[in-house]
C-alpha cells in the first residue's frame, strides 16, 4: 500500500499533530484528523501530485450518543488517477456540533453537508447555502440523531384500538 503511505506522509507534513490516529481494517485506511484542520487535510491530499484525491465519493456522519465526542463526520475520498481510496474522519462534541465546510475544496460536498445538517444538526461553517435538504423547511429536530423519537404514532392493537383512534388527527372535509 505505497500509495496510502504516501497519503499519510502528505497528511503528516500538512497537519503535523493534526493527524490523530490511523486505522487499517481489511485494506481500508481511516485517518482521524483534528476537526479544525479538515479543510487543510482535504486540500493537501487533493493537490498533492502523487495522490490527486480529486473526488469526494461520499460524506456522511454517525451519532455515537451517549458517547463523547458524540458525532463523527466521515469523508470518503477517491483518487481516479491513482486508483486509491482514503477515509478521513473527525469527531465532534455533542453540544452545538460545528465544523468547517469543505465546499471550497470539493463542490460536491454542498448537498452532502446540507443532508448531514438536516439529519444530524451538524453545522458547517462557511457553507454557501446551509438549508435542510430532505425534511420540510419548518421541521423541528434532526431525525437521524439517536435521541430522536423513532415513530410518532403508537402501534394500534386490539386492546388499545379505540384509545389510539381517539387521538388520531383525522382530516376534515
Amino acid at each position: 500500500m505505497s500509495g496510502l503511505d504516501e497519503a499519510l506522509n502528505v497528511l503528516r507534513t500538512a497537519l503535523g499533530e493534526g493527524v490523530r490516529t490511523v486505522t487499517d481494517f481489511r485494506g481500508e485506511t481511516t485517518v482521524e484528523v483534528d476537526p479544525a484542520r479538515i479543510v487543510a487535510a482535504c486540500r493537501a491530499v487533493r493537490d498533492a501530485p502523487t495522490l490527486k484525491f480529486t473526488r469526494l465519493a461520499g460524506q456522511t456522519a454517525v451519532d455515537y450518543w451517549p458517547d463523547e465526542p458524540r458525532f463523527a463526520v466521515i469523508y470518503q475520498l477517491h483518487s481516479l488517477e491513482k486508483g486509491l481510496r482514503l477515509r478521513l474522519l473527525l469527531r465532534l462534541q455533542g453540544d452545538a456540533p460545528s465544523v468547517a465546510s469543505v465546499v471550497q475544496v470539493f463542490p460536491s460536498a454542498n448537498w452532502h453537508e446540507r443532508e448531514i445538517f438536516d439529519m444530524f444538526g451538524i453545522r458547517f461553517t462557511g457553507h454557501p447555502d446551509l438549508r435542510r435538504l430532505l425534511m420540510p423547511a419548518d421541521w423541528q429536530g434532526h431525525p437521524l440523531r439517536k435521541d430522536y423519537p423513532l415513530g410518532y404514532e403508537e402501534v394500534q392493537f386490539t386492546f388499545n384500538f379505540d384509545e389510539i383512534d381517539r387521538k388520531k388527527p383525522y382530516a376534515k372535509e
Binding site: L134, M135, P136, P143, Y148, P149, L150, G151, Y152, E153, V155, Q156, K168, P169, Y170, A171, K172, E173
Partner: protein
C-alpha cells in the same frame, strides 16, 4: 343502431333523479394519474389490458386534478408530500372520492417513523381502504366496486 332498434319500443323507465345521477357518476369516474410508490405499479397493472379498468368507465387517468373525480392514493405519503396531496385534493371538483390503496396509505404500513404520514386519512377524507402490500389489481378493482356501491347509495343533498 342500438338495442332499441332490435327490440322495438321499450317504453319508459322511471327512476329517481338521485339514482340516475349516482348511476352516471359510477359509470364514468375518472381517477387521477397519481402514483406515489410501489402500489402505483399495481394500479398501472389494473389499468392495463389484462385487468382493464376501462370496463368500469375508468380508462382515462386524468393528469389534472381539475378533471378527476377519484383520487387513488397509491403508496406511502411522506410528511413532505402531504401538503401537496391535500392541495391536489382541494383542486379536484366536487363530488370527489378518495381510495387509500395499500397498507401505507391506509395506516402507515411498516413505516412507523418520522417521515411517513400514519394513514392518509390524516390529510384527506378517505372513502375506501384497500388492504395489501401491495394489493393485487383484483383487490383495487374490488375497492373501486365497493366505492361504486357506496356512491349508488349517496344522497344528492349530501354534496349540496
Amino acid at each position: 343502431m342500438g338495442v332499441e332498434a332490435k327490440l322495438g319500443d321499450l317504453g319508459l323507465v322511471t327512476l329517481t333523479l338521485e339514482k340516475a345521477v349516482n348511476w352516471s357518476r359510477t359509470r364514468a369516474m375518472w381517477p387521477m394519474l397519481f402514483g406515489l410508490a410501489c402500489c402505483a405499479i399495481e394500479m398501472m397493472s389494473a389499468q392495463a389490458s389484462h385487468y382493464d379498468l376501462s370496463r368500469f368507465g375508468m380508462e382515462l387517468m386524468r393528469a389534472s386534478p381539475r378533471q378527476s373525480d377519484l383520487m387513488i392514493v397509491a403508496g406511502r405519503v411522506t410528511r413532505k408530500m402531504a401538503p401537496v396531496l391535500r392541495r391536489l385534493y382541494d383542486q379536484m371538483p366536487d363530488p370527489k372520492w378518495v381510495i387509500a390503496m395499500g397498507d401505507c396509505a391506509s395506516c402507515g404500513g411498516i413505516f412507523n417513523n418520522y417521515a411517513i404520514v400514519q394513514g392518509v386519512d390524516e390529510v384527506v377524507p378517505v372513502d375506501v381502504y384497500v388492504a395489501g402490500c401491495p394489493p393485487r389489481p383484483e383487490a383495487l378493482i374490488h375497492g373501486i366496486i365497493t366505492l361504486h356501491h357506496k356512491v349508488e347509495k349517496e344522497k344528492l343533498a349530501a354534496h349540496a
